[in-house]
Symmetry: C2
Subunit: 349 residues, 2 copies
């Protein structure tokens, strides 16, 4: 170890992604995450349950830490805040995050990376992987409910695994829905904004649906159950909090629901709404047994995405690697050891 | 919030302490910690149990996160590593730590502070507070078993609340014991190194004893039970891991054992050795009911110190405040929001 800490701020991460290309970055992230999921072994990769603070002042929010250790190699801890008033009140995304990487040989902090964009990208990458296994191939109408920051990466990620014919979008804030076409203009896909009452049309016409809302605890679902294509695949990514759910229970009850992390989805995801028995394969199993689950493409499937620390570790390590390749970021002497490790007062007295 | 993150590396923290003076810093830390303990209210200050990774490769060690929230004001998370091979193998202290402070209004990381020295100082401050309540006043012979980095701050901290007549020290590594006089020369107190077999003399002659060892799990105690002054006060600070204990069970059994955090001491501290019934007041209670517990000065008392996240929050905030006063440290644009919080791709495409 060099003893110094690599720092990558949001501007550095943006420069890394621009240097690699946003599509190239996302494709590489999808590929690395798929590899990590395919090789996942809980004996060597440990991801204890995330924990955190939930509060209502000074603003409604939560701050959580998501640890992951690849035994003998690296420890990553993402700290992620969810503060739904950020976009309107603070000019900040609702999700703000940073990932710290530690050397398990010494305990030293070796890197600190803004993970705000990376969180959107890795969440998109996870949806792309699930969608690629569970959704019908071919031209795809993508429905989006909740058009904030996460939705941009979701649409982009799905576009990397399915050719998008059209994107149907809805947001409880008409202005946020209206700006979505501009924000996804780089994809060159037609975006149709559906007003509140047309949400059911969105459900009916989508081949793949993404829910990425800030719906309040207890206020879901964000769309009523109703007519949909038999092969509908849903990426439900907004539910990540006890009591916060986006999908109708009746829809979940007839779907193959695939959690990213079983226990976490039971506590915070759509699985909250189902009894313990009904649960499909988790994301690593989906990837590891892809042939077994691809036949489910013809029926209703749901990817219950609450976010997994392994996704954050993969994303942060990719950012660090690309930063090295493009010589981006700076180093900071955080721990800076003295000459005598037994003398904390060495330079003080 | 400014939106940028304050960075204080180890060299900055050292400069802060030099600028304020090491005695002034420690005295102020003791005072602030005593105030925080005296005012502690679990309804507004939340300190969930610390958690972490324990492992044996690439080196025996642990990495833990210690969160604390003062509701509505600040969240602090110290990440602390304990790697006993660091001093000999890596030239690093066995304890390496950093504290991150977050704005609960937005989730943004507002400060990152090297907490390696601060951990030693706050652990010393906690011992000073307990010792001031539980040890006999007047000239004091201080015994020290385990002469690493933590011991330096322990001796210094005790010297702020009791006049030290002499310091008797022992370490399983004779070189570490031998260098202790040099490392504490600033205190101008006679230091007597006792060889292995003289540990019992150390127990017998001390008014206050500090154990701060890296004894292996299951290998304690670090001193056999035996003759001691009736009013002996012990600060047991090394036990912070399941199975790691420093004191003889029989000694604990006849002492008033005061944990810093009851549940944590039951899991990781000397309290592991006692049944659930026998437990004295915790550190906040000691401070809040000082008059009630001062009479215990005439009998055997033990402060079971495993480390508390509130201590780390107080220490980090003092460092930040002093950094502002002395214009030390730098700012880093970690999160750097774009113009549109709904558009993570704003500057990418």
């Amino acid at each position: 170890m060099t003893g110094s800490t690599k720092l990558l701020g949001a501007a550095d991460v943006a420069e890394i992604v621009r240097s690699r290309g946003v599509e190239g970055t996302l494709d590489e992230l999808i590929e690395r995450l798929r590899d990590a999921l395919g090789a996942h072994d809980p004996a060597t990769v440990r991801t204890p349950a995330r924990a955190g603070f939930h509060y209502e002042r000074p603003a409604l929010g939560l701050l959580e830490w998501m640890p992951a250790m690849e035994l003998g190699r690296v420890i990553g801890v993402k700290t992620v805040g969810y503060h739904p008033a950020n976009p309107t009140g603070r000019g900040l995304p609702s999700i703000v995050a940073s990932t710290a990487l530690y050397d398990p040989g010494t305990g030293a902090l070796v890197a600190l990376v803004d993970a705000t964009l990376l969180t959107a990208l890795r969440t998109g990458a996870a949806s792309a992987i699930a969608t690629d296994i569970l959704a019908r191939p071919g031209p795809t109408v993508l429905g989006v409910i909740g058009c904030g920051a996460q939705a941009v990466a979701q649409v982009h990620a799905i576009s990397r695994v399915r050719p998008l014919e059209a994107v149907l979008v809805h947001d409880s804030d008409p202005e946020v829905a209206a700006s979505f076409a501009r924000r996804t203009a780089f994809l060159d896909r037609p975006v149709h904004v559906l007003a509140g009452d047309d949400r059911q049309r969105l459900l009916a016409e989508s081949d793949v649906l993404c829910t990425a809302t800030s719906v309040d605890v207890g206020a879901g679902p964000v769309v009523a159950d109703g007519e949909h294509k038999p092969w509908l695949h849903v990426n439900a990514i907004g539910a990540d909090f006890p009591g916060k759910c986006e999908l109708p229970r009746s829809l979940l009850a007839r779907a193959l629901v695939c959690p990213d992390v079983v226990e976490q989805c039971r506590a915070e995801g759509e699985l909250q709404q189902l009894d313990g028995q009904r649960c499909g394969p988790d994301l690593p199993t989906l990837v590891q047994q892809r042939e077994r689950y691809e036949p489910c493409r013809d029926s209703l499937t749901v990817f219950d995405s609450t976010g997994w620390a392994v996704e954050d570790l993969v994303a942060a390590e990719l950012a660090i690697e690309l930063a090295g390749r493009f010589r981006i970021g700076q180093r900071f002497e955080l721990h800076a050891p003295g000459a005598d490790p037994h003398d904390p007062y060495e330079e003080l007295v």
